[in-house]
Symmetry: C2
Subunit: 450 residues, 2 copies
C-alpha cells in the first residue's frame, strides 16, 4: 500500500462513479475491460471518480474471453446497454461500419457519450455522426481509431492547435509495415512475408484492407480532417497498396540510402489537399524510416513546431485499450463541461470546416524512384532522359545495374526531383512505348520528409 500526501481515509469522491457499457468483447473489448479493471485505482486517482464497466454485450456469450467479466452484466443485445438510463458512456468496439453505425446513432439519440476504436465508421460516417452528436451535446471520441495506443488524435487536435499543419505522413498499418520490414530484413518476397504475417496473426485471412491501403486510407481520412479542418472525405483518398513491391526494389532502395514504407500522406498545397496512400521511398536517416515491424509512427509538420513524430504500438488488445480508456477519461472530464466550448470532434468548429479541394492524383507533386529494363545498347538512356526532360522531369540520379540472373535486359534505376504526377504518367507511357524498353516501368513515389 502506498500512502497519499493528504490524509483522506474514508473520503468519498466528490463526483459519482461513471458507468460504462462496452459493445463487443473481442480483442479490443477484452483489452479495455482488462485495462480498466487492472488500473482502476490509478485511473480513479486521475479522474477523481470511479469508472466502472457495468454492462457489456457480445454476439456469442459462450465464447472464451481474454478478460474476466466478473461483476459485469453480459448480454447479447447491445440495445440493453444503449437504452439503460444508468449508463453514461457507450464504448463501441464491435467494428464494421453498418451495425456499428446504427448502434452509435442510437446511443447518441439516447444522449450517451460514445467512445469508439472504429476507423471505418469514423472515416465513412463521421460527418453524419458528429453532426448528430453535436445536436445532442454529446461527445464521440475516437483516439483508438488511428495508430492504436499512440495519442495522435490528441496531439494534432490539441497539442498542435496553435499550428497551421502543413503535412503529415504516417506508418499507420502495422501489418503492412511488418511485411515491408520482413522483405527488407530477410529478402522475402511479398507473398512470403504476407504468409508470415498471417501465421503470426497480424494479417486477416482476407488481407486486402491492410495491404491494399484501405485501412491506411480510413486512418488518413481522419488525420487529414483534424489537421486541416476539412470534412471527412474517404472517397477522395488515392490508395495504392504494397502488393507490387518486389525484393529487388527494396534492395535497390536500400543501396541508394532509402527505405520503402507504406505511408499515408496528407499535404496542404496552394492548389488543394493531397490525400494519398502508397509505398514510398524515404531517406534511411529519418527516424520514421527506422520504424519497423508492426510499430506505427506519424510524422506531423506544423508551421510553428516544425517536424514532430509520434511512435508506438498501432494495434493489440492492451495498446488499443490504452487509447479507449484515455478517451473514456476525457469524456468523464467533459461530462460537466459546456458543450459549446469543447474541443470540436474534428478539431475545428463544425461551422468552420473548410471547403478546400482534394486534389486528384494527376495533380500530386512528388519525387519518384523508377526502375525499367532496357536493352544494353547505346542510345537507350538518351531516349529515356529525352522523354523525361520533355516533361520537365529532372533527374537526381541514374544507376545502371548488372542484368539479373538469366536476364539480358539491364535494370536502370532513376531517382527524380519533384514533379507533377500527370507529367510522370505521360512520360512513363512514352518510355514504355520505346522498343528498347522491356515491360513496365516500376514507379515508386519518393518523399524526403524534410
Amino acid at each position: 500500500m502506498i500512502g497519499f500526501i493528504q490524509q483522506n481515509t474514508g473520503r468519498e469522491w466528490a463526483l459519482k462513479p461513471v458507468k460504462v457499457g462496452v459493445l463487443g468483447l473481442g480483442t479490443v473489448g477484452g483489452g479495455t475491460v482488462n485495462v480498466l479493471k487492472r488500473n482502476a485505482a490509478e485511473i480513479a486517482r486521475r479522474a477523481g471518480r470511479d469508472i466502472i464497466i457495468t454492462h457489456a454485450s457480445a454476439r456469442d456469450l459462450s465464447r472464451e474471453r481474454i478478460c474476466s467479466t466478473e461483476g459485469i452484466i453480459l448480454t447479447a443485445d447491445p440495445l440493453i446497454l444503449i437504452n439503460d438510463p444508468e449508463i453514461d458512456i457507450i464504448v463501441e468496439l464491435i467494428g464494421g461500419d453498418v451495425f456499428a453505425k446504427e448502434l452509435v446513432l442510437k446511443a447518441i439519440a439516447n444522449n450517451k457519450h460514445v467512445v469508439t476504436a472504429n476507423k471505418a465508421l469514423i472515416a465513412l460516417h463521421g460527418n453524419e455522426i458528429f453532426a448528430k452528436a453535436s445536436e445532442k451535446g454529446v461527445i464521440v471520441a475516437f483516439e483508438a481509431a488511428v495508430a492504436g495506443g499512440i495519442p495522435i488524435i490528441k496531439a494534432i487536435r490539441e497539442g498542435l492547435s496553435g499550428n497551421q499543419i502543413q503535412w503529415l505522413a504516417g506508418i499507420i498499418n502495422g501489418t503492412g509495415n511488418f511485411i515491408l520490414t520482413e522483405m527488407r530484413d530477410k529478402g522475402r518476397d511479398f507473398s512470403d512475408a504476407l504468409a508470415e504475417a498471417q501465421a503470426l496473426g497480424y494479417a486477416e485471412a482476407d488481407p486486402s484492407f491492410d495491404v491494399e491501403g484501405i485501412d491506411v486510407g480510413h486512418k488518413l481520412t481522419i488525420l487529414a480532417s483534424i489537421a486541416f479542418g476539412i470534412p471527412l472525405q474517404f472517397d477522395k483518398v488515392f490508395m495504392e497498396g504494397i502488393t507490387r513491391i518486389t525484393p529487388i526494389d527494396v534492395e535497390y532502395a536500400e543501396q541508394l540510402g532509402y527505405r520503402i514504407k507504406h505511408l499515408g500522406i496528407a499535404r496542404k498545397t496552394p492548389e488543394g489537399i493531397e490525400l494519398r496512400v502508397h509505398p514510398t521511398l524515404i531517406p534511411d536517416r529519418r527516424l520514421i524510416a527506422n520504424v519497423d515491424g508492426v510499430m506505427n509512427a506519424v510524422l506531423v509538420k506544423g508551421d510553428a513546431v516544425g517536424a514532430t513524430l509520434y511512435y508506438g504500438a498501432g494495434a493489440g488488445a492492451d495498446a488499443t485499450a490504452s487509447a479507449v480508456v484515455a478517451d473514456v477519461i476525457d469524456v468523464v472530464r467533459a461530462l460537466t463541461s459546456d458543450p459549446e466550448n469543447r474541443v470540436p470532434h474534428l478539431a475545428f468548429q463544425a461551422a468552420f470546416l473548410a471547403d478546400i479541394p482534394v486534389l486528384s492524383s494527376d495533380r500530386f507533386k512528388t519525387s519518384y524512384y523508377l526502375r525499367l529494363n532496357a536493352e544494353d545498347r547505346p542510345g537507350v538512356l538518351a531516349d529515356v532522359t529525352r522523354i523525361l526532360a520533355a516533361h520537365q522531369i529532372s533527374i537526381e540520379a541514374i544507376i545502371q545495374k548488372e542484368p539479373l540472373e538469366n536476364e539480358t535486359a539491364v535494370p536502370i534505376i532513376m531517382l527524380t526531383h519533384t514533379t507533377l504526377e500527370k507529367e510522370m504518367n505521360a512520360a512513363i507511357a512514352e518510355i514504355e512505348a520505346l522498343l528498347t524498353v522491356a515491360g513496365k516501368v516500376n514507379r515508386i513515389r519518393l518523399e524526403t520528409l524534410g
Copy 2:
C-alpha cells in the same frame, strides 16, 4: 480565400474574445506573439472564439523584438497586466524562479489563468503554485516547460491516462544533445563541441544548467510527477552532467553498438522511484539513440500501451510558442468548465498524489560501461573480474583495446548486466585500489530501454 462548409457570413462567435497578457517579449514571448498573430484565423476556427494579446510587458521597452507589437499595449510593469480585470490569461515567459514566482502567484490571486514555459518555476515551486491555483479554481498550464513544442505533458497526462507508467527516458536538453552529437559525428572533445554550441547560440555563456544536468533535472522532475502521481521533488533528483564524456568513450560505445545520450530517466520500482539524469549508453538500434543535434525525444513506457516515443524541437521561438499557444487554447476550453472536474495540474487529483519514496543513487539498478587502464600483464583481468564477481556484478562483455598513442596501459572496456549501484561503487573503489590499474575507472550507465 477558402470557403467554409456552412455559410456563416457575418456570424459572430458565440463566445466573446479571450484577452491574453504576455509577460516577457524575449525569444519565446516574441515567438508566441508571432504564432498567435500569424495563425489567428486558424486558431479562432479551432477555439470557436478570437484569442487576442491585448498587453505585453518587457523589462526594456526600447529593445528590438523578433515580433511586431502592433495593436499590443506595451509596458515595463507586469503588474499592469496582472491587475487588469479585462485580461483572462497571463502568459509568463520571463523565466527564472524568483520574480516569475511572485508574478504568477499574484496572477492566481487575481483569479487569472496562467500559461508558463518556465521549467525551473514549476520544478521548484509547482507544488505551492498548483495548490494556490486550485484554491482559486484557475489553471496553471506548463506544456512548454518540457521538450518545447512536443506535446509531452498532454501525452502523458491525458493521452496515456489509462496506463500505469512504468518508466520514461528523455533527451530533453537540446544543447547537451547537440554537444554529444558533435562529439560522435566529428570526434570532437567536449570543450570544442561546447564552444561550437555557444557559437551557434545554443548554449549560454554559463552553460552549467545545460551540461551539468540541472535543466534536465527540472524537466525530469515535472515528467516524473505527472507520470507517477507524486509531488514535484527536484531536490531528490540525481544529476550527473556530460562534461566528463570523452571522445574515446563515444568511439568505444559506437564500436559496441551503443550511443551515448544525456538522459533524464524516471522509473518506478517496487522499492521506490528512481529519478536520475546522467550520460547513458543506449543500443544504437533504438529510435531514441538516433535523435541527434538539438532535437528532443521522450520515450514513455506504459503497462497497457507499451513503449511510445515523442520527438520534436525542444527549443526555439516558434516551437516553444507552439506549446504556449496550445496551452492558451486549452485554458480557453476550460474557462467554462467545472474546476472540480478538470485534468489535474499534476495528472492526479491533488489529494491523491502518492507518497512513494525517491531512491538515493546507491539504490539505482542499472547496467554499466566501464573503462579502465591496466598494465598489460597476466592476472589483471582476473583481479578485476574477481572483484566484480564478489559484488554480484555479472559481465556482459569484456574488450581489451590497443594502448592509446604514447600510452603503455591497456584500455579495458566492460559492459555489465544490471546491478545495484551501491555494489558498483564498492567494486570500482576496489578496482581503483589495484596496483595494476592506473587512474580512475570511467563509468557510464547503460540502459537497454527495451
